[in-house]
């Protein structure tokens, strides 16, 4: 087992290097560079920029360096925790990302918890009451959640939250609490705003999870050990949670791998529509304006978390499910 973990960890380094190279190439692929985007943006509002100034900035940012030089500067800095410089914000990347990441984790975390809290009972109910009215009704509700475009739902909810409850539009708190220390008022204001992104992002995830849990449970419910348990007089709920539910959790553990990166990326589209102070809109902006070090650093973090997440879910699966563990061993 230890050998396996070390081998997996060793594989992560070349994987991440390849990813970093691909990421960098792709960010650089579109014609032009950050400064051209910047000039274009200024000019669309009527402003203009001196050519001399541009030349100076190009030099300062090292945009005329050869591609490989730029790449190595960036990658070598990564090891020492220097992620480069964000042109857009005129600040080191670390400072730009720093603040946002906590709010992003907060939103994502609560969303995930809410998703689980809704999806598990419904999934269990649907599986145990297959083809009943309740099953159909909840499935329909889930599908509506899955099929409604998130951004539309977000806009509709924003509008009515404002008209009915007077919640300020967008963001995670009322503007007067931004950059203020935490207080009871700020906490309440956050709660007031938080439910919209949680519901919007949660709806689609919930539906998917309900369906998978239901399908997995249905596979197990007809098995003989369930019958035996029933025959022995185990209470239905205890029987369900003790045996078939645990058997059908593999998909859930495997999901953790992809969950980890989504915790810090947030749901981009929804975050943009809702103007959440999370990392999603920032990632999109930096990609659009070719703010390459900021975008690259983001994507590298996502890659790193994906790789780690996959490792964690593999290890958890092996630990949780003896079938996987023992089959793997017998192959050797």
């Amino acid at each position: 087992m230890t050998y396996y973990v070390i081998k997996r960890l060793g594989m992560m380094i070349p994987t991440l290097l390849v990813i970093s190279f691909i990421v960098f190439v792709i960010i650089q692929l579109p014609p032009g560079d950050y400064l051209e985007t910047y000039i274009a943006e200024l000019e669309s509002q009527g402003e203009s920029v001196d050519q001399d100034k541009i030349k100076f900035l190009r030099d300062q940012y090292g945009l005329d360096d050869p591609f490989m030089v730029q790449y190595f500067n960036w990658v070598s800095g990564f090891i020492s925790g220097d992620f480069g410089y964000s042109f857009e914000y005129d600040l080191p990347v670390r400072e730009v990302i720093g603040d946002k990441i906590w709010l992003t984790i907060l939103v994502s975390f609560i969303t995930i918890l809410v998703t689980w809290a809704i999806a598990f009972p419904i999934g269990m109910y649907s599986a145990t009451h297959q083809y009943s009215w309740g099953d159909y009704g909840l499935t329909l509700l889930g599908f509506i959640g899955l099929a409604t475009p998130n951004f539309l739902l977000a806009l509709v909810m924003l509008y009515f939250a404002n008209v009915w409850f007077g919640t300020s539009i967008g963001g995670l708190m009322d503007p007067e609490y931004l950059d203020q220390p935490w207080s009871w008022g700020k906490f309440k204001s956050v709660l007031e705003h938080l439910w919209i992104p949680v519901v919007v992002i949660g709806t689609s995830g919930t539906a998917g999870m309900i369906r998978r849990l239901r399908a997995n449970l249905l596979d197990e419910l007809d098995k003989q050990y369930v019958m035996t348990g029933k025959a022995k007089g185990l209470p239905p709920f205890k029987l369900l949670t003790k045996y078939p539910l645990r058997m059908s959790l593999n998909f859930f553990i495997a999901d953790i791998g992809s969950l980890l990166p989504s915790v810090i990326s947030g749901a981009e589209i929804t975050a943009i529509v809702l103007s959440l102070p999370t990392t999603g809109p920032m990632l999109l902006d930096s990609l659009q304006s070719q703010d390459m070090y900021l975008a690259g650093t983001f994507l590298m973090f996502l890659a790193l978390l994906t790789v780690i997440g996959m490792l964690i879910s593999d290890l958890l699966l092996a630990w949780l499910d003896p079938r996987i563990r023992l089959q793997g061993a017998s192959l050797k």
Partner: protein, 638 residues
């Protein structure tokens, strides 16, 4: 003759006399002057001197006209912006300039007490005695000296030489500082760009707070100390550090002393920026009370697409940016619920959108065709501008060529109307006479090499407004036997295609400054810049001093360039006005760009309690600096 040398010469005299009388009344009533509540604690504790000592000995006195009234102190003005970089607009809205425009586009001294211009080439600036930076340090000719000697003439900071507007035909000015309050710039030839550059929405800063910046300058700070600061900031060298600290336009350094009415107090990155009132601001109202009236300006950053929704929910007190005419009905709906009103200002661009035939196209057949003025005229009269106005703009706009606006002093009706009538017969007639009589089975005319006349028109594809307009144009051009295909692409890609000559035609904003005066540069009307989409390569040629691009090779374009150059050498407004008219005339006859409609109203949302915001105004970048020329420092809350 001498009086006409510079229009501003006439205009500064009046304010000076007002100033003096104003100053007299001020000194007599100084004891009665109320203090500013915002600073009362600081003044009481001795942190700040009282108001009389914070304003210059001869402050600038705000003029109130029409329904404007003197106001009361206090309040917080909330604005919405789409990106944290947009806080630079506070430099535009604040509009404290050495020399600034009035709403009538006259140039008057503002930060300066007054200024004189001799022969269009010697500029003498007189500062206000006792004027201070926002940190309380004196603002004297030292600030100009620091900029001149330690910034622009420092090889590390300006490796590529002086900014273009300080150079006249390659020659730098002789700058002298006769005393603490006087600065003189002297060229051997006229420099008509200098004063407008100081009054521009993005002004040329020819002064800098040396007392603050010296700590980042290698001439004043030992290398080791500087090196640690450079590393902390994560920049390449001390020059990068100095530039980062000294970005008066970007407004991103809260420590940088300023002369604006409100000074940023929030370090980016942030979602909410608070601009606090400048305790040493140089303007007062006619009771001698220091401006601005409003204590704080709060800029909330949200996503661009939410600005209209948030404004409609009453979350902005003064909003024009990121809202458009198609938000009008939504905003009106929120008016009564959220206690604001929506005003319709006129927009300042020469034409909301204009079609630019690419005279530098790589396709030789097409290039010859668009270089023929008859063809451009035919396309122009083949557009039903009335229909566009009715369908897209509720009939609130006006059909126009891509030229100056009716409100402009240089306006002549024929500039707007020539070749903008809708006349399909005339257009067909012109195309027939050009020899394109043959058509294919769809009824599309054939070009000289037998290809059908299909135009691929590039747009920056940002909104539905563009595509809606092009849909209408496509229909009427089809009746001329011209097929229009629209290709939206991302803005950078769009520009690359036009610059390289791959694009046949492009749709983009019209002339930026629709109401220039004769003293403003006519650069937009001559091939001087790569971003002029009808002749990018000619513009690039001029911009790069003949190094890259192509030389203009049609007589009218060459003539425009000659006129532009003679404008640069001109010494007075009369000469400049003649040049302007000649250029505008060539434009309207040649139809180098095809204008559509102008005067599309710009909704401006104003809190009902906010006073002194004009009912009607012009919302333009240059020369109005959006709200700048209406002086937001005189706005106040009831």
């Amino acid at each position: 003759m001498f009086r006409q040398l510079f229009k501003a010469r006439d205009t500064w005299r009046a304010p000076v006399s007002v100033l003096i009388t104003g100053f007299l009344s001020l000194t007599t009533s100084a004891t009665a002057v109320a203090s500013i509540p915002y600073f009362s604690d600081d003044v009481a504790s001795g942190k700040l001197p009282p108001m009389e000592q914070r304003i210059p000995a001869e402050p600038a006195i705000a003029e109130f006209s029409g329904s404007e009234t003197t106001g009361q102190y206090g309040g917080q003005l909330r604005l919405l912006m789409g990106k944290s970089k947009d806080i630079r607009l506070m430099m535009v809205y604040g509009y404290a300039r050495l020399i600034g425009y009035t709403p009538e586009h006259e140039l008057v001294a503002d930060i300066l007490r007054d200024f004189t211009v001799e022969d269009g080439r010697i500029f003498t600036f007189h500062l206000r005695k006792g004027h201070r930076w926002s940190d309380g340090e004196p603002f004297t000719s030292e600030a100009f000296r620091y900029y001149w000697e330690n910034i622009v003439n420092n090889e590390d900071l300006f490796p590529f030489g002086l900014p273009a507007k300080l150079m006249v035909e390659g020659e730098p000015p002789a700058v002298s500082f006769p005393d603490d309050l006087t600065v003189r710039y002297e060229w051997s030839k006229p420099n008509p760009y200098f004063v407008p550059a100081l009054a521009a929405p993005r002004p040329m800063f020819i002064y800098a707070p040396g007392h603050y910046l010296e700590q980042f300058h290698s001439d004043f700070t030992p290398e080791e100390e500087l090196q640690t600061k450079v590393e902390e900031a994560g920049v390449r060298n001390w020059a990068g550090l100095h530039h980062r600290k000294n970005h008066p336009y970007k407004n991103d350094n809260p420590e940088l002393p300023s002369l604006q009415p409100w000074v940023n107090s929030t370090r980016p990155p942030a979602e909410r920026f608070v601009f606090e009132r400048n305790a040493y601001y140089h303007r007062v109202d006619d009771n001698g009370r220091q401006l601005p009236y409003i204590d704080e300006v709060v800029v909330n950053i949200t996503s661009k697409s939410l600005v209209a929704a948030k404004t409609g929910a009453g979350e902005s007190d003064l909003q024009g940016r990121y809202i458009r005419l198609d938000n009008y009905t939504f905003l009106k709906e929120g008016e009564s619920r959220n206690d604001f009103n929506v005003r319709l200002w006129s927009s300042g661009t020469g034409s909301q959108f204009a079609i630019y035939p690419n005279l530098n196209s790589n396709d030789p057949v097409w290039r010859d065709l668009v270089r023929n003025r008859e063809f451009r005229r035919a396309l122009s009269v083949g557009i039903n501008r009335h229909e566009i106005n009715q369908v897209i703009y509720f009939g609130l706009a006006q059909a126009s060529a891509n030229t100056v606006l009716p409100s402009c002093s240089l306006f002549e009706p024929e500039y707007q109307t020539e070749w903008t009538q809708f006349d399909l017969d005339l257009a067909n007639d012109i195309l027939d006479r050009m020899g394109m009589r043959e058509k294919d089975s769809r009824g599309i005319r054939l070009m000289s090499d037998g290809r059908p006349l299909e135009i691929i028109l590039q747009t920056a594809g940002e909104g539905t407004e563009e595509t809606d307009i092009l849909e209408l144009i496509g229909e009427s051009w089809f009746k001329l036997g011209v097929k229009l295909h629209v290709k939206p692409s991302q803005r950078e890609v769009f520009r690359e295609r036009v610059f390289s000559g791959d694009a046949m035609m492009a749709l983009f904003n019209g002339i930026d400054n629709g109401s220039p005066t004769a003293d403003m540069s006519p650069r937009e009307f001559a091939p001087t810049n790569q971003t002029q989409l009808q002749w990018p390569k000619w513009g690039q040629y001029f911009e790069t001093n003949q190094k890259v691009g192509e030389a203009p090779d049609i007589p009218e374009a060459m003539q425009l360039l000659e006129l532009y150059e003679s404008w640069s050498r001109s010494r007075n407004s009369v000469e400049r006005e003649m040049i302007w008219h000649e250029m505008l005339k060539i434009h309207s006859e040649e139809v180098f760009s095809i204008g559509l409609v102008c005067g599309v109203p710009q909704p401006v949302v104003v809190n009902n309690k906010l006073r002194n915001v004009p009912e009607e105004g012009v919302y333009s970048w240059e020369p109005n600096s959006f709200f700048g020329v209406y002086r937001p420092d005189t706005f106040w809350f009831e």
